[in-house]
Point group: C4
Chain length 295, copies 4
């Protein structure tokens, strides 16, 4: 986190900061796990509350549980603000907003009686789990995945714009061929059908009725079935590259500036300079030994 | 673009050419972005116009918008023709035809009153986006993808002819096993069902009714589910190869003719010849220095 | 092909053999293309004939076309038998049986009046296309694919036996949870549903009705969605390996017997022996030149 | 297996142990195959028995077959226990429990008359096939797959927690947009729909009814269609790595401790030490020969 208190901060705040914002002490880890459990439980309560029969029977229990979790999260948020040097900076950050969203809707219902549509906003709480994953050991894995995603992004964007054009043209074609009775009532509706078909979802709510429509559908389905190879291939290649590059250090050779060395390399592959700054070049000793003979 | 005006062309045409056909000046980039926005907006208008309730309410607005875009595209087309040395060559090229198709249908409705079925033709406008992507930075990505596609084309074609045979045989089998009541009214209909099943789309409009039919369906589905690995594997392998080969230069070694060098290589890996023609071989200096001692 | 006539065979048979069984002369290529066209046309006729409305209108035309193709294929088969030294060997081979199957059903209808169910057998004609693909240039591509398939076969078999166990257990579980009214009438029916769900086909003809059933379905679907990575990953890895190994020659080093050399290698990577038997080792000349000085 | 009898065990038990628990003698292999056949047959009987019409007609046959298999498996279990030194250790192991589960339900029906719901438990017999696969040659393949799975586990877990968050948010969104009439009666129901759509299963039992709902569905489907590239890419990369690492030995160089050598390597790639301890370094002889000249 970027909100470290100044070193001279008083004891309680510093200790709170370590427990709440970090993850390397037993106390901090216990806090993280308790928080994840509380988030998952509160999300489960919101979900179960949306089932009518459960709401009728356990509505009151859910109501008190929701308020318990909201109070807990509010206290947590207060503590977060209390132990930070620059709380406004935190409240404007992504996780600060998510933390605020986790508690605000329940309080709002008190003030604005009709605000019952805020259920979804309340479910944004699940995003808080990301912060804890980030604190835990999943950082390396996420970095590798995001690294590969970032590299394949442009190709996948290109792939998607091509897909959208294909979908537009197939949708327009089917709109003219098929009748509105079969469900092809407009081009956007045809596009919905084309995406349902091409992504191989295939709900079956809109289905071609004519022979010509079926022939075109067949082409679209075979295209969708085989074209999935494109993003998969691109992403696979990038993951392989990312894994391979983890084997390379990012430090440049002090001799020639060459930048791509395996982490296990001891000498620069281009100019032979000794790379490991923590130990001494064994050749040096040889040179020293040989010095009198050589010169 | 291949339609550069001769260097001696007058100022306005040259300037127009740079704005319309190229993408490296601020004016040209603004033109590209304006064009993409206009294309997307005109396509959106066509789509919304196909929804009956929207057409009834905003039909007139859509009508005027469509004419505005058509006029804009017509002016653009006229400018393109004006600033080119060989406009006929351009009009016979792929993008020339697409540009013409973008405006012709709307004008045709004026002349031929009943030509309302040209909606799809009008939607071909989206293809114009490709030209702009081509001008922008997506060329490298597309080249890599197309390169990998071209290399895996033969294997994917082979895969598809095998798939089509499998589909034909399964369709014929199901046609004899299942009754027409279940939807298997003819072999082409069975093939439609087989493709819907094998590509894992699964609309559910035609479904096996007998136990034997279900057993065969199960085999077809498992086949379709696992066989997707084939194009994906082939394409992945080719993307990896393309990425790897980007690291190799295509220039042959002047010493031995060897062709596969990393772009960062300075010496031929086979015969040791200095490869970088723009700078001088550092060994040469050594040789020069050592010359008297060596001989 | 393995059915070469003896070198002393008379002219006509040898010429026929080259045209029919091979693919390297213009005549043979024309024959191949004509055969593919005839096969595809006869298959199309069989398919269209299965559509009731077409059969009623063009039934007679289809009947004569079918007989024309059957006669053509019969003549072709007679010529194949005529120009071979060992026709019985050919007739017992895979392609011999397919060739026989291509013509027999139509003749059988003449002898056995009620043999109308032989339509599917007739469609086995499409398999003849494989023989022509084999003759044409697709051999290399098919070899690479089959090579990779053969290598990943054991892993994919293992994957499938694991999948079938998962399906059996999920099917049994759903059979006890869901009622027969929802479609889960027996364990085999539940297995059909489980395969439809796991392969992401999702017809929707059988769908879980209870909450518990839906929860289990969700797990099965997520499993099927993500587990496809296994065969794809295995096959991708094997294709990559096959492509890479194409770069290696299969000939052993004459010096040390080492077997894995890049095709472009000139010296054995282990013992330095000269590998290219068609040209001379350039080092030899050096040695010869240097011989007097060295010894 | 970890249950070897002590070497001094009497002949019959030792011989039984080899036949039942191992797979390297003809007798043991015959036993394995007989066991697989018996398992598959008994599972088939259980499945067919669940089909009502079959149960009515062949119910009695199935009853006797089930008892025959149960008796066989019981005898087998008794023999397993008899020939082991520590049977309790075996009965508490995974395969011991599976073996027990394979016979217990049928016996329980005798004692507890109403225990008919144990059909699924009985089907757990299929898990016994794994033990035999383990004995046979599939160990290497499984090890490679499990190795790659273990390595990609963390990334795939991360991927799944991200997917579940996406599903939660889409489900909450659709729950507020769509009406209960369309099937979106609660958030858990919406989640079921979201998973059906995202995994591209697409039953079609719940389908968006509004335009806004359809637009959001389209995004979810395209996401699910393309995001499958992530686990596939990660797993592909890990399989490739596992295959590659099979080429490397795990033994460290006795000279410098370097650990990554190809299995075919004879000299350490870093310090040149002779690696093959079973034969002698050919350089040594050279050194011996050259010894007088060198010193």
């Amino acid at each position: 986190m970027n909100f470290h208190p100044t070193p001279g901060a008083e004891g309680l705040r510093t200790r709170l900061f370590h427990i709440i914002f970090e993850s390397d002490t037993p106390g901090a880890k216990a806090f993280d796990i308790a928080l994840i459990v509380a988030i998952l439980m509160s999300v489960t309560v919101i979900m179960l509350d949306s089932i009518k029969s459960y709401d009728e029977r356990y509505g009151e229990v859910f109501f008190y549980l929701e308020w318990t979790f909201t109070l807990l999260f509010t206290i947590e948020l207060a503590l977060r603000i209390y132990c930070l040097e620059k709380p406004t900076l935190y409240l404007r950050s992504f996780y600060g907003i998510v933390d605020l969203i986790a508690v605000l809707p329940t309080w709002l219902v008190l003030l604005v009686p009709g605000a019952h549509g805020l259920v979804i906003v309340r479910l944004l709480r699940v995003l808080r789990i990301f912060r804890i994953l980030r604190l835990m050991e999943f950082v390396g894995e996420a970095r590798l995945l995001l690294d590969a995603l970032k590299r394949s992004l442009r190709q996948i964007l290109l792939f998607f714009s091509a897909i959208l054009m294909v979908i537009t043209l197939f949708a327009a074609l089917m709109y003219t061929i098929e009748s509105p009775e079969a469900g092809f009532t407009s081009i956007p509706m045809s596009m919905y059908w084309a995406i349902v078909s091409m992504t191989t979802v295939g709900y079956g709510d809109i289905v071609p009725a004519t022979s010509l429509g079926k022939s075109i559908t067949v082409i679209l389905m075979l295209l969708g079935y085989s074209i999935i190879a494109v993003p998969t291939g691109v992403f696979s290649a990038q993951v392989i590259r990312s894994i391979r590059e983890e084997r390379y250090s990012e430090e440049a050779c002090p001799g020639c500036g060459h930048e791509r060395h395996e982490k296990r390399a001891r000498y620069c592959l281009r100019c032979g300079t000794w790379l490991d700054e923590d130990s001494e070049d064994p050749r040096k000793k040889d040179v020293d030994k040989n010095a009198p003979q050589d010169s």
